[in-house]
């Protein structure tokens, strides 16, 4: 081996703890990037597989208002297709479907249930469209058709419930329509990839009966030939940056007359995936943040390694080694660290991904009602991506150190304090600010917002060392008369910034992010709280089983004596302007809160038109005054938008229409809010329970509030986990820096101890330095954190989810940031301080000799 290289590698080995810390920094960064990618890819794959199982080779679907159509429409459509109707010229198959989400249990009373998608099909018409549906000639298909109440269930779901998949069994299905028994006659396998929601297949008639939808279909699936496969580069881009490219909202809708329309299934699926994508992109951004923090560790460690060897570089230069050779050697050294870090990172990453996947999947299920758990795929793309990002980032972080090493003069002894070029730094900051501002351009969407956050954080990193120096100098000026030991602490800290400044940058980044996210989450929490409180103001809520158009009479008769006011909603799903929506028809009786307790962004909820949720308003780019075309049986109604209200669900947009606008439109799930109970609540509950039809559930608002808040908390768990990782990496960086400084200063402490300074002093110096750095870091992180929060709240949230939030600045959050940072500082300093405390002066002096 090249002798120069050998000498460099020996240096790495001699400084192995510092090397190890740097390698660890790279590893954690790479691991988080990989884990986020793998977890995101797995949950997206699960969604894709779930869609694939439901849709098979179907490309389009015909449906009507409320995502349903009368069964009688099917024979007519099928006939016109068979007779060569040109609208269906390239259709290869046409099959009716009844589908809904249900839950499967072993016994009617059993607590343990498993979520399933019920798919009612016509095995004959379906022939080959879905791999999971048995062929028309098979025995299973024959039994599904001829025996009412028979179903097929996937093996994994049966195993989950502890049911033998090879024997027939009676199971219970819970749906909006109530609890009904079914006969499981056979099972089928869905393969390894989808482990979330199960699939249950039945004949159309069985499904209709289970769901109380006799006479109705959910849709008619079409398999058209013309669907073009996605371009190769688009597929690659999607795999490299899942969720970065969000397809434009579906607009490919065709009106078939009679209230029927044809929609593209691919785009419908893309829609829901796009929603999940904004969440996933946020995660990916956090992953990159962890890498960024890791990079600062590498940068710090390498700069330190190079500084320690300045003299030996000088000797090498004197012996005739070229500056370029030294440059290359330092980069080679970094590459060695990079490779080690990447290898470790890939291993840790896969392990981390598994943990992350559960959190991500849980959040996506809560947010979007998506099936999101799948096995991690052995996909090389994210691995290669994480590996190359790790190596490139390491080399990038090593460049400044390499160029400084190569600038050591022959026989020189130091790198020469690189006069912090103020003008160059100012230019860099200006550049970052301009780039950040440019990223906020509306056309860049919420990804632009995340870029702007990145610009703020990088600004923080560039500012940090100068900021620290300023703080310490200021203190030195203020503490002119302080004991020399205090001044010594300040001077040493300032001198140590060459090593610790980079670690401090990482700490500032982590703290600013934590604070920004914290402010955002708090603002979010309080907005959601206020919104929930208003929305769930009614003390009692009654959810009816099955589908309804009107308030059941027995309940309606009872209400005037039991409550002062009530709101009755009938809700169904639909699509408006290509966007999935939930439409509620609202009847208000008696005294209820103004605007139904909705937090209005604009306008009001009125009897003349519709009120829509804020996210929908942004997606449709329509607000008060515009008209909205609402599908109803047999056509569509053009209705004015009278109000826009806040809504923090991430699912479909909401449309509220007063029942005065039109007579009952469609049947749907029905719910009743009861305001102002007369007499005691228990009495009201009893009376209602007696009068309500079977299957109705009465719930107190506390219960619903707790549920909703639980969803909220789970949503932010992933974010806080990633944040904690970035914070821990930063604390680790500080630890590495302080350890290095502790080692460097052993000589000095040895001398001081010999002169009669007691053993507590080095400890206090070390702890004091850590606390000073941590405090200064937090001071800088505070305004930057607010900046991050502004962008997250005003740009990212609005653009990604359509949510506007009320600002919150809880003082405890700032205090918490300060305490966490100080604690991180103390922890980081504890070990080096302890080792100094234990060292005897003689041992320290030993190193004085070795050092000289």
């Amino acid at each position: 081996m090249n002798l120069l290289l050998r000498s460099h590698l020996r240096h790495l080995w001699r400084d192995r703890w510092q090397t190890l810390l740097a390698v660890f920094g790279i590893a954690i960064g790479v691991a988080v990037v990989l884990a986020v990618d793998l977890a995101n890819a797995a949950s997206r794959e699960a969604m894709r597989v779930a869609t694939q199982q439901l849709d098979g080779s179907a490309t389009h679907a015909i449906t009507g208002a409320g995502e349903r159509l009368a069964e009688s429409a099917y024979p007519a459509l099928r006939l016109s297709w068979r007779q060569g109707d040109e609208r269906f010229a390239d259709v290869r198959a046409m099959a009716p479907v009844v589908t809904a989400e249900v839950r499967l249990a072993r016994a009617p009373e059993e607590g343990e249930v498993w979520p399933m998608q019920l798919l009612g099909v016509d095995p004959v018409a379906d022939a080959g469209m879905r791999a999971t549906v048995p062929g028309p000639a098979s025995g299973a298909a024959g039994r599904l058709i001829s025996e009412p109440g028979t179903v097929l269930v996937d093996v994994a779901s049966l195993r989950r419930l502890g049911i033998d998949p090879d024997a027939e069994a009676t199971l219970w299905v819970r749906s909006a329509a109530g609890i009904r028994p079914v006969r499981m006659i056979a099972s089928f396998s869905l393969g390894e990839r989808a482990l979330g929601q199960g699939l249950m297949i039945a004949d159309i008639a069985t499904a209709q009966e289970l769901l109380d939808r006799v006479g109705w279909l959910s849709r008619i699936d079409l398999e058209r030939q013309r669907a073009a496969p996605a371009a190769g580069w688009a597929v690659l881009l999607e795999r490299l940056f899942p969720g970065l490219v969000i397809p434009p909202p579906a607009s490919d809708e065709r009106d078939l007359g009679g209230g029927l329309r044809e929609v593209s299934l691919a785009e419908q699926a893309a829609d829901t995936r796009a929603l999940a994508a904004s969440f996933q992109l946020n995660l990916a951004a956090l992953g990159l943040l962890a890498l960024l923090v890791g990079l600062f560790l590498v940068h710090g460690a390498l700069t330190h390694a190079v500084m320690r060897r300045a003299r030996s570089f000088g000797r090498l230069r004197a012996l005739g080694v070229q500056a370029a050779e030294i440059h290359r050697m330092v980069l080679a050294e970094a590459a060695v660290m990079g490779v080690l870090g990447v290898l470790a990172g890939l291993v840790i990453g896969r392990w981390l991904a598994r943990a992350l996947l559960l959190l991500v999947a849980g959040t996506l299920e809560n947010l979007y009602g998506q099936v999101a758990v799948a096995a991690l795929a052995p996909d090389p793309v994210p691995m290669v991506k994480a590996a190359s990002v790790g190596i490139m980032a390491t080399l990038l972080a090593a460049l400044p150190a390499a160029s400084r090493a190569s600038q050591v003069a022959p026989n020189g002894r130091s790198l020469g304090v690189q006069r912090a070029d103020a003008s160059r730094r100012a230019a860099l900051i200006a550049l970052l600010i301009v780039a950040g501002a440019a990223a906020l351009h509306p056309r860049l969407g919420y990804a632009g917002g995340l870029l702007a956050v990145g610009a703020v954080l990088l600004t923080a990193a560039v500012l940090t060392p100068a900021w620290m120096r300023t703080c310490l100098r200021l203190l030195l000026d203020v503490l002119k008369l302080a004991p020399l030991q205090v001044r010594l602490l300040l001077r040493d800290s300032e001198r140590g910034l060459l090593r610790s400044g980079v670690a401090a940058s990482a700490l500032v980044i982590a703290m600013a992010t934590a604070l920004g996210m914290g402010l955002m989450v708090e603002s979010f929490r309080s907005s959601v709280d206020r919104w929930l409180d208003a929305r769930l103001a009614a003390p009692l809520h009654l959810q009816f089983a099955g589908e309804h158009r009107e308030l059941p009479e027995a309940v309606a008769d009872l209400l005037p004596q039991t409550v002062r006011g009530h709101v009755f909603r009938v809700t169904w799903s639909d699509r408006v302007g290509g966007q999935p929506v939930r439409v509620s028809r609202i009847s208000v009786t008696g005294e209820v809160p103004e605007d139904l307790g909705l937090a209005m962004v604009a306008g009001r909820f009125g009897p003349q038109g519709v009120a829509i949720s804020e996210p929908l308003s942004r997606r449709l780019q329509k607000s008060v005054g515009a008209t909205l075309s609402l599908p109803v049986a047999g056509g569509a109604l053009e209705l004015p938008i009278t109000g826009v209200f806040r809504e923090y669900g991430a699912g479909p947009g909401l449309i509220l229409v007063a029942d005065g606008v039109v007579a009952p439109l469609l049947a749907g799930s029905a719910a009743l809010e009861l305001h102002g109970p007369r007499g005691d609540l228990d009495g009201v509950v009893k009376a209602l329970a007696a009068a309500a039809p079977e299957g109705a559930r009465i719930r107190h608002n506390e219960e619903l509030l707790a549920l909703a808040r639980g969803v909220f908390d789970r949503t932010f768990r992933v974010t806080s986990v990633l944040q904690a990782i970035a914070g821990a990496v930063a604390a680790f960086g500080l630890f590495a820096a302080l350890t290095a400084l502790g080692l460097e200063r052993r000589t000095q402490y040895g001398v001081l101890r010999t002169l009669g300074v007691d053993r507590r002093t080095p400890v206090l110096q070390n702890l004091g330095e850590a606390l000073l750095l941590a405090a200064a870091a937090v001071l800088l992180a505070m305004p930057l954190g607010v900046g991050v929060a502004v962008i997250l709240i005003e740009v990212v949230n609005v653009r990604a989810f359509g949510w506007s939030l009320d600002w919150q600045f809880p003082p405890w959050l700032f205090l918490q940031a300060l305490l966490i940072s100080l604690l991180a500082g103390l922890l980081a300093a504890a070990l080096p301080a302890w080792s100094l405390y234990r060292a005897t002066p003689a041992a320290l002096m030993q190193e004085v000799r070795a050092d000289a």
Binding site: P483, L484, Q485, R487, L488, R491, D492, E494, R495, T747, Q748, V751, L752, R753, T754, L755, G756, V757, D758, R759, T840, P841, A842, M845, V848, A852
Partner: protein
């Protein structure tokens, strides 16, 4: 007697073996006298100096100082008391000067006065530096001083708190002959004037000559 070293022994464990460095070493030092310790490299000179300073403890034997009307048996004192003793009554000059790089010349000297809680530490430090001819370099940081200047600052530091004795381990070992001699002459001059004792470790025969007593350490057969 200022210092009595009685039958001191010290051995170090090395690779599982105990290597005796000092065996049955005894000596005495009276106030204001100069003791020179000589010997080959590795003979235990620095080890003995460390024992005298209470930086290390002997395996056997006693080291007793009599300063300020009090007797200090180093082996019987705890670390804190030994440190306090060292801080108050001993002065050190090292071969590599070992100034604190982040303190100025003046501050380096004032540090010990301040540590000992003496009044007007900066005044004392300034006076010491002036006596050694460094009045104009007070605000310089060590890395801008020459080796000779650094060692003179170190001597000022060793004297600022008026210790009874100075321990010097090869004080001129890192200076050229001429500068070394000049600095050493200055040190002797001050010590003679103020009647302070000196323990000098050296293998320079010229420096070794002229002391009140000499201890030659050699490997015991």
């Amino acid at each position: 007697m200022l210092l009595e070293v009685q039958a001191v022994a010290r051995a170090f464990a090395q690779g599982g073996r105990r290597i005796p460095v000092l065996e049955q070493v005894s000596l005495e030092l009276a106030a204001g006298q100069r003791l020179t310790i000589t010997g080959r490299s590795g003979s235990g000179k620095s080890t003995l100096l460390n024992l005298m300073a209470g930086l290390d403890l002997p395996d056997a034997g006693r080291i007793i100082w009599q300063v300020a009307g009090r007797s200090w048996n180093l082996a019987e004192l705890d670390e804190t008391t030994r440190t306090a003793f060292r801080r108050r009554h001993l002065g050190f000059v090292f071969q590599f000067f070992n100034l604190v790089p982040t303190l100025t010349a003046l501050e380096n000297v004032a540090l010990l006065a301040e540590l000992n809680g003496l009044d007007d530490p900066f005044g004392r430090a300034r006076w010491r530096l002036q006596r050694l001819g460094l009045g104009d370099r007070e605000d310089a940081f060590p890395d801008t001083l020459s080796g000779g200047e650094q060692q003179r600052v170190a001597i000022a530091r060793a004297l600022v708190h008026e210790p009874a004795v100075i321990l010097a381990d090869e004080p001129t070992g890192n200076l050229d002959r001429e500068t070394g001699d000049a600095v050493f002459a200055q040190l002797l001059e001050v010590l003679a004037e103020e009647d302070r004792a000196l323990v000098l470790v050296t293998h320079d025969p010229e420096l070794a000559a002229g002391g009140d007593a000499e201890l030659a350490l050699g490997r015991t057969p």
